[in-house]
């Protein structure tokens, strides 16, 4: 089967700084759940942003869903088919209410308002968030914001999920519920997480971002089947 993402020799530097990524190679196959680890500031979030074209690489190729992606127009399709859950939910939620924020994605995909609302209700129910439906996103607690931002992405029914520390700030029960939920999803995932147990339960493969390159994880990090 064709790879969902295929990245070759990706280089990126923020203006006026040393390169963060220095030749990243990455493959994500359908059904695969790849965990990316790395020290703080290693460039994991940056890599996810590059995959969706929110930043432009200095060099290297990004192929997504079987086609090369270089310019903004080519990335729009990628953003429709791959959903990114931001590391900081405050950066992601911007509509006044949870309902509006969740409906935003489907509406961008061209669904009708009725279709969008149906999808939102289904997803919120699945995540056990129906009670937050009318709440103001701005006033949610940290963990609630995180779950809502995941819901907002799931509402778009993406083929791939890019999760930037999804279990951050969740209580134990909620964390476990999220884990079960993600495990039940058929989508391929690229998971950035500092939570070892979470990673080991969810991911099928792992890799480590070190010195701007993706390498095999250190031996003690080998994943359970």
């Amino acid at each position: 089967m064709a790879e969902l993402f295929r990245v070759r020799d990706l280089w990126f530097a923020y203006p006026g700084r040393a390169p963060v990524l220095r030749g990243v190679d990455l493959d994500l196959a359908p059904g695969q759940r790849l965990a990316v680890t790395g020290a703080n500031g290693a460039g994991k979030s940056t890599l996810l942003w590059l995959l969706l074209g929110l930043l432009r690489p200095n060099a290297g190729q990004i192929e997504a869903f079987g086609a090369p992606r270089r310019v903004e127009a080519e990335f729009i399709e990628v953003r429709h088919r791959a959903g990114l859950v931001f590391q900081d939910p405050d950066n992601q939620l911007f509509c006044p209410t949870v309902l509006e924020d969740c409906a935003f994605g489907p509406l961008c995909l061209g669904r009708s308002r009725a279709q969008a609302l149906a999808v939102v209700d289904r997803t919120l129910e699945q995540l056990g968030l129906l009670h937050l439906r009318e709440r103001i996103t701005y006033q949610l607690s940290g963990g609630e914001k995180r779950l809502v931002s995941l819901a907002a992405v799931l509402c778009m029914e993406p083929e791939v999920l890019l999760l930037d520390e999804p279990s951050n700030g969740l209580d134990e029960t909620t964390g476990e519920r999220l884990l079960c939920l993600l495990k039940a999803l058929p989508q391929a995932m690229l998971l950035v997480s500092h939570d070892r147990a979470f990673r080991e339960h969810l991911a099928t493969t792992g890799c480590h971002l070190h010195d701007g390159r993706l390498i095999a994880p250190p031996p003690q990090e080998t994943q359970h089947p």
Binding site: Y14, P15, G16, R17, G41, S45, T46, W49, L52, L54, L55, I76, R79, H80, G83, L84, F86, Q87, D88, D90, N91, Q92, L93, F94, C95, P96, E100, F104, G105, L107, C108, L109, Y138, A152, V153, M156
Partner: protein, 267 residues
């Protein structure tokens, strides 16, 4: 000076607006730079002779080269101002009476451009450009804290200094907030169009921008008060008027006198 989110995690995607640039002008005391700009502006406003104005503009350009700032940061304000200047260049000759230069329509029915008006327009355009370039070269890379500190040490009223500092800070905050919202929208496949969904979403984004900026500014104030903010920004490095500053000040006095001499000698 990366843009940091509340949690302290750096936010990718919003490029740093203050990359470290190694310019010799950076080593100058901010007070020297401030005074130099003020003196330059005062001198240039007096100048009327094209040659003297040209020399002033050349001096400003020279300093822009020395300052080695990112081109974008210089071109943007320049383009904004020269857009207005262009309108003035086109209208002023027609509204100033004097020796006819160009007549539009039969017998100047649509208007007559005067030589005096043209000179006046050129004079204003050269003056404005020279001052703006000098301002960008000398003060363009100064952050609000240092600028405020310098102004305060030059004995400007504290209230004024703080007003200026907070304005500069919050413009940045709002700009950062806006960049974040834009990225969030694009990440979920938003492409602006002329439909209700687009307009509604942009409305939401604008509303959120205002609410968040206000809230953030309040949080910033709290954070500042928690750390003992009492009304002035402490700056760790103390200002030092060094020998380079003395040299630059002397050079400045000489060059500015030269410009004035040129003006009176030609006039």
């Amino acid at each position: 000076m990366g843009h940091r989110t509340q949690a302290g995690a750096p936010l990718p995607g919003v490029p740093d607006r203050h990359p470290a640039v190694g310019s010799p002008l950076r080593r100058l005391d901010p007070r020297t730079r401030l005074l130099a700009v003020c003196a330059f502006a005062a001198v240039v406003i007096v100048l009327e002779q094209p040659a003297a104005l040209g020399a002033a503009l050349a001096l400003a350009l020279l300093l822009i080269l020395v300052a080695r700032q990112p081109l974008r940061r210089i071109l943007r304000p320049l383009a904004a101002m020269d857009g207005l200047m262009l309108i003035m260049l086109l209208t002023l000759p027609f509204t100033t009476p004097g020796t006819p230069l160009l007549q539009l329509g039969t017998e100047g029915a649509w208007g007559t451009a005067s030589v005096e008006g043209l000179w006046l327009a050129v004079d204003i355009a050269l003056t404005a450009n020279a001052i703006l370039l000098m301002l960008l070269a000398l003060l363009g890379d100064l952050d609000p804290v240092h600028l405020g500190h310098a102004l305060h040490r030059l004995h400007l009223p504290m209230a004024l200094v703080q007003l200026l500092q907070f304005t500069l800070r919050y413009i940045n905050l709002i700009h950062d907030e806006f960049s974040r919202l834009r990225v969030a929208m694009r990440a979920r496949g938003f492409v602006a169009g002329t439909n209700r969904h687009s307009i509604r979403s942009l409305g939401y984004a604008l509303g959120t921008l205002l609410v968040r900026s206000l809230d953030r500014s309040e949080r910033v104030l709290c954070a500042m008060q928690c750390r003992g903010f009492t009304g002035h920004f402490p700056v760790v490095e103390s200002l030092r008027f060094g020998s380079t500053d003395a040299l630059v000040a002397t050079l400045g006095v000489l060059v500015f006198s030269g410009l004035l001499w040129l003006e009176w000698h030609l006039g």
